[in-house]
Symmetry: C2
Subunit: 455 residues, 2 copies
Amino acid sequence: MKKVFACLILITSFQVFGQTDSILVRKIFNEALSNGKSYENLEYLCKKIGGRLSGSPQSLAAVEYTKKLMESLKLDTVYLQPVMVPQWIRGKKEIARVLKSRKHGALNLRICALGNTIGTGEPGITAEVIEVKSIAELAQLGKEKINGKIVFFNRPLDPTKINTFQAYSGAVDQRSSGPSEAAKYGAIAVIVRSMTTRLDIYPHTGGARYLANVPKIPAVAVATIDAEMLSGLLKTEPDLKIFLKTSSEMLQDVLSYNVIGEIRGTEKPDEIIVVGGHLDSWDQGEGAHDDGAGCVQSIEVLRIIKSLGIKPKRTIRAVMFMNEENGLRGGTKYAEIAQNKKEVHIAGIESDAGGFSPRGFGIDGSDEKIAKITSWKSLLAPYGVYDIARGGGGADIGPLKSQGTTLIGLLPDSQRYFDYHHTSIDTFEQVNKRELELGGAAMTALAILISEKGL
Amino acid sequence: MKKVFACLILITSFQVFGQTDSILVRKIFNEALSNGKSYENLEYLCKKIGGRLSGSPQSLAAVEYTKKLMESLKLDTVYLQPVMVPQWIRGKKEIARVLKSRKHGALNLRICALGNTIGTGEPGITAEVIEVKSIAELAQLGKEKINGKIVFFNRPLDPTKINTFQAYSGAVDQRSSGPSEAAKYGAIAVIVRSMTTRLDIYPHTGGARYLANVPKIPAVAVATIDAEMLSGLLKTEPDLKIFLKTSSEMLQDVLSYNVIGEIRGTEKPDEIIVVGGHLDSWDQGEGAHDDGAGCVQSIEVLRIIKSLGIKPKRTIRAVMFMNEENGLRGGTKYAEIAQNKKEVHIAGIESDAGGFSPRGFGIDGSDEKIAKITSWKSLLAPYGVYDIARGGGGADIGPLKSQGTTLIGLLPDSQRYFDYHHTSIDTFEQVNKRELELGGAAMTALAILISEKGL
């Protein structure tokens, strides 16, 4: 093996911070780990309220609960921001049955309807199935081979991606765009392999987006183990048929709310730093990692600040955004109102990647802002938060981008996220107390650094 | 707040590696994540064999199983290394009952005997309890207050330590030395708060060490929730009594084995790099994180090397050490034989901190060796393995230190380790496939870098 070696001297300039900075960060982590409330708040959100799909009674109970939680912190303001949200309902337990396969006889697949999709109607539908690995493959097959059939998207997540969100991004087009793309070629329904790195028995739901001017067709996610089995069956029995019955539907928009609480800045109250997560979740589990964690961590940021008696120079505001999962109406409304009020948001920090050990922050902002945040790395690295990198943000804070806000996403360890994502097992039990607390502390530390030093 | 800022220019020299190095590391991780076998091997070890206390039938089944596993890899050598090990048995389910407290009446505490301890005898013992927070406090109280009583060690792990192993180190003297230290003052038994960062219902066992010339007294661990309750009761009822009954005992030493497999180096076969974990575990759970994970990862190192067709320059040897938990006889014997054979171990890499996402390696070695390994950081950091630091190694490879071996410990994320450590819930279900695989890949990458570049 011939090896090329080169030598490079990197001159890296680190700001070495005064003791006060590192002591302050230490105090924040100590408070989170010794007196943290995020874990018990998450337990309430998951166990007493549960899944919180936009427009559901649970989502309104979550609005009420988080508002009261923030009121108990004696913040400068706590208020609700009304926003109309779509109201999609899953309806009865979905059925997908392979009819009389030669290998197994009739058998049921573990499925669930994708968010925002229509149902099959009461009689259900029965059709042959055609398996594809990509949207591109639809065009190769053409209308002749797809018309009247159920399209089965079965491209797995790439296991070699170290960050599982990259694996997810590389496969999720099948779920979000697959239904309408298949409908263009006459498909009558879509079955999508669940978006998870594991082989498991849980169908992972998630949003699908219908294109205008294309017929809306029913679409479901199938558990990965069942996807493997179905794929195997289709190899020997390409003519097998599936009976599919779902009763999901989109109802009228209804009124809901973003929940907002803030600590006003002492020197520059008009410069706002938002910390947030989304309060809605899918209906199947308890919305623990997605995104109860982000909500209770954001409230924890304010609790820690109050508890340590910190008077931040700039305003720090926690927002529980509504409707990230199937509409993003909360995030969109929040940015619209901020624009109308001419509020200045210097940074948004979102936690929407699970309540796991924090490893860093991903930043969507100018080189200058990224360099400034990176200069604080030595303050955060002792807590395992070492990965400050370009790229990130969060769906809910995304609409603030056009206002020049630097968007920052908390980056937790990603390995376990898609084990639970959008399933019935995204429950409180899957969240580790210390991991959740470390994430909230990391957000607090960064929010305070931005508040005290500007951005 | 007055802040002191200083500016420092750090000149850091990085070796920039040839493509071949980074491609090789990439291949190792791809193989682990795409075709990994460590997870299914761990399932067998946990579910078909289970807890594997030294000397137990299960420990011998594990010897047999891992030997066969390595034989199936077509290594250059696979063999057993005989070693006599202590055989401690827990006996019947332990009982600790608070007798007629005024608050609750009689109630049972969730306890388990500490490893290596003697039992109470069939009648059990009944005595008053005195709570202490430290061994030092025993001397302050003196014989007068301790004699004839059960000493209750109740100092919690410090939650503010970011690395939970530091919190463990700061509390574990109560478990390992507490029994003999209390016996010096006439205590007749010891109850120790479980060594975990959580409040939970599981007693966490672990080894105690009796001092020579001090009476041996029974000692148990109590679940942290029950420790809190007992402490509360003692505040209002300092005279309450506890009935304690355990039947653990130390039997005669028995024959067991270290299990060894190796791929011989092509250029410097006499320079050995050991990768290892310990095959024995406590009896309560399945020894999944502690340390089935380290064993299957070490075997995975060899499997990946074979599977990729790598012919390492130096010898890479996997060792499943026996008896780490209650004697360290396997590690001691291994080093003794290495010494006798005049084998040269240039490095030992141990995985005994759980099958969680790898974050780095801790090194016990010279500045020069640490600098050399640190120079490879840019090859490992893309996989989340960024924390190359002084300090570490592992219990089993520890005895090689006097032979000049550089000792290296895999550092996984530590947040969840003490949730499961030494309990009935250290089971296969608590291990995440990808996290386990990433750890094995990180070990492989480092072993190969040392093999190809020397140390």
